[in-house]
């Protein structure tokens, strides 16, 4: 799936980064150790953790997109880091599970 499909859903807003990147798999987690060992390369990672460490792990794992769920508004330093890393940053009011479901439906 390309991220564009998900962004057609009004619940998802692109904060920064490319709107047309490809996505391999959907991944959900708020613990950085788990994400570090499990986040899929090229995937879309849904979390509520709004800090630079999320971006550091996203970059190391080479995920293409990070979604901040539950209306978490990304901090300015997070937005800047996402831009620098070329990672698409998205925000949504949906809870993590529903956001993941929407993303998975786009993947299928």
């Amino acid at each position: 799936m390309a991220l564009e499909t998900l962004l057609q859903d009004p619940n998802f807003t692109l904060v920064s980064g490319p709107s047309d990147c490809s996505l391999s798999r959907v991944f959900c987690c708020d613990l950085l150790s788990v994400a570090m060992s499990r986040a899929p390369e090229g995937g879309i990672w849904i979390t509520v953790m709004n800090n630079l460490n999320t971006l550091a792990v996203a970059s190391l794992c080479e995920v293409h997109a990070v979604v901040l769920a539950e209306n978490v508004i990304p901090q300015e330093d997070v937005i800047q880091r996402a831009k620098l890393e070329g990672i698409s940053l998205i925000s949504t009011p949906l809870p993590i599970f529903e956001a993941a479901l929407a993303a998975q439906n786009c993947l299928d």
Binding site: D30, L32, S33, S37, L52, A56, S59, L60
Partner: protein
Amino acid sequence: MSDMAFCYIVPGDDFTRAGEASADVKSRLKMLGLPTDVIRRVSIAMYEGEINMVIHAGGGEAEVRLDNGAIYMELRDRGPGIQDLSLAMKEGYSTAPENIRSLGFGAGMGLPNMKKYTDRMEIESAPGEGTTVKMWVNCPGI
């Protein structure tokens, strides 16, 4: 490649920079064209070791060498040391305070993951003196 070495100072007071050494190691190994699985395992182990120095030891030094068929990582700090090593190795055991946990750290999976994703790990630690973690990821041909 056998005598290549990369060295890093890992600052202890700056969470926003945690992971920089790991990211640099990863990009260097990629440039050398090493297998993706080897790079992934080195990245996981190195990141966890780096984070531990930042959150538990006030920072430290990291050294990575391509050495006789393995990627060798050594992380040295002068922090408080690990009181009970077998307890620290248990999945879920963590002494990380609440403010660190709220950042997503402190799952107590760092040391177990370092062991799981490397081929060999040795820890030397003395209370009050610091900790040295040595890890090897095999990579035939380097």
